[in-house]
């Protein structure tokens, strides 16, 4: 997903760099306010973690491999603004320190991996959390969908940038990028859920956006959570709108009738290339965008939504089944339910979980923490392998 130099034209470089810079400077200010002097050590080490984790390849099959992006994960664990800073730092170091991604494309790469991926992941996570059952598997299913979407939508943003620059038409770039990343996204979702399950089992206080059992206590403790949630949702919506603003001019550019468009483009192109050859700006009228392109984009959208729905349904079914199974064997995990217990006023300082608690008054009735946690029993120790 790291675009090199030369793949984007000058207007796209300017727009994406401005967008990335504005978001990043806001995110830095916001994070510094929230974390205070802990900002530097915590985000520095977390950035090092994302950097190291991105070097861990996972197999896709047939000899190829993808790597963990970590944007949605970082958003869930650190909160979206800190995640933006961390991901942007990683992208900048990769571009300057390792020549991975071009300098002129740094704004676009930051926008895709640190802004779009983070907010799509966070937005999907926050939107799904109230819909899914308030159990750990339900929560993890939401994280899985969010991680998958963050990777796929970010790859779609890459395709849109390439198309706007006139490098590869959208009808090729979009299916090619998103189909590959739909597979990579599965690995991303698997890793994100595994890591979150482990963190929830051992240090749930670290998670910025924990399962609903936890956030219920937080909401009762302080009244700060709901407006924040809406703010984040609004930010996610803004990013989505920005993407659609990028796409919609081309949609309106394509008039009815396939032949007519082809004819028009033939004329236009000939006249133009005869005159001034190729200049970056002339690419603004996207040649590849005819009705088939629209059809492809629509198909991609429908496909994404359908997959989203399927994953969502699976997650629900899965979590329901697992909860029942867990209920049958319940008490085994009695020692593992620190989730409901602690006050969660400042989740980073609240520190240590009360493992001795046998009852957690803040949890909703239908959520029995014993049952929730039972499901994660099998992978909580895996990290030490």
């Amino acid at each position: 997903m790291h675009l090199p130099d030369g793949f984007l034209d000058t207007p796209t470089v300017l727009v994406t760099s401005t967008g990335a810079l504005v978001t990043l400077s806001y995110a830095v200010r916001r994070t510094s306010r929230e974390l205070g002097e802990r900002t530097v050590p915590l985000l520095g080490v977390t950035a090092a973690f994302v950097f190291a984790a991105q070097m861990v390849n996972f197999p896709i099959g047939a000899g190829t491999s993808g790597h963990f992006l970590g944007a949605a994960f970082a958003a869930v664990v650190l909160g979206p603004w800190a995640a933006v800073v961390v991901m942007a730092v990683v992208a900048a170091v990769q571009a300057v320190g390792m020549a991975d991604g071009g300098i002129s494309a740094l704004g676009a790469n930051t926008l895709n991996m640190a802004v779009v991926a983070v907010f799509v992941g966070y937005g999907a996570h926050r939107a799904l959390r109230p819909l899914l059952p308030p159990t750990i598997p339900g929560y993890l299913a939401g994280v899985a969908v969010a991680s998958w979407l963050s990777v796929v939508v970010a790859s779609g943003a890459v395709a849109v940038e390439l198309a706007v620059s006139g490098t590869v038409p959208l009808r090729f770039a979009l299916p090619a990028m998103t189909s590959v990343h739909m597979v990579i996204g599965i690995g991303e979702a698997l890793i994100a859920t595994t890591v979150l399950a482990t963190i929830l089992a051992s240090r749930p206080d670290l998670v910025h956006s924990p399962p609903r059992g936890l956030s219920a206590t937080a909401r009762r403790g302080t009244s700060l959570t709901p407006p924040k949630t809406w703010g984040f949702l609004a930010a996610a919506l803004a990013v989505a709108l920005a993407i659609s603003v990028f796409v919609s001019p081309f949609a309106s550019q394509a008039p009815d009738g396939l032949e007519r468009v082809g004819q028009d483009h033939g004329f236009d192109g000939a006249a133009e290339s005869g005159d001034r050859g190729f200049t970056p700006i002339s690419d603004y009228q996207l040649p590849g965008f005819e009705n088939p392109a629209l059809a492809t984009a629509a198909a991609g959208l429908v496909g994404t939504l359908a997959l989203f729905a399927i994953l969502f349904g699976l997650g629900r079914a899965f979590s329901g089944r697992r909860s029942k199974a867990a209920a049958a064997g319940g008490a085994v995990a009695a020692s593992l339910h620190p989730l409901g217990g602690h006050e969660h006023k400042d989740h980073r300082h609240s520190g240590h979980t009360h493992r001795g608690h046998s009852h957690s008054p803040h949890l909703p009735e239908e959520t029995d923490p014993d049952h929730d946690h039972h499901d994660d029993h099998d992978h909580e120790h895996g990290g030490d392998s």
Binding site: V40, F51, G102, I103, G383
Partner: protein, 257 residues
Amino acid sequence: MSGAHHFLTDTRFGAGPIHRLDPRAKILGFFGLTLVGATTPPTAIWAFALYFAILVFLVGLSRLPLRFLLTRVAAVLPFVAVVAVFLPFFHRGGGREFDLILGVTVTEAGLVMLWNVLVKAILGILSMMLLTLTTSFPELVAGLDGLRVPRVFTLIVSFMYRYSFVLLEEHRRMRRAMEARNHKGRWLWDTRIVGHVISSLFMRSYTRGERVYVAMTSRGYDGTMPAASPPGIHAPEAVFLTLIVASLTAIRIGVAL
């Protein structure tokens, strides 16, 4: 971890006048070269010849190992190949058409686009390689600091740099332990094990971050760090920057005419 991550080893290749320049001058020079190159119309072939002449001259001055440089530059070729694959389907308006095999045709405009992507990607990666191979990472960060990049950002970057070593080493140890237990990741469903590795990496790094913060606080950390002053802008830096700015301006004026 692997050769690609040379910057983590903090080894500088070769030695020469470019290595000794103030990092601020080098950052400005090489970023400028990349950005000016990336915004040059691809039809001005001679301009790119001149950009590469500047880069080759600087490579010669800094006596970098050519083979290493070329293998790193080649890493950008897969991206270019992706663009090349789509060219036959991408009949952007007009120009001459060229026949490839089996009736597959490529338009002139398409070829210009391929050239555009190829030359700019190589130009960008080459100048970034020159920058990072002649400048150590701490110097780079100090240079960015000197260029008034927000301090929070450069501090996070320098922390990340320090702890990357620690975390990569931890990951290497875990990987070795996995291999000793006969782990062979082959398919997508083996990813779960990678997830476990990343989990413990995260737990260890985050708790380490907290410990580091406490240790720093106990040593009087209040959110600010003393800044190191870079070498300073003297005659060599002035010559370097003047040459780059003058030649880039001349080339761009030539293109515009």
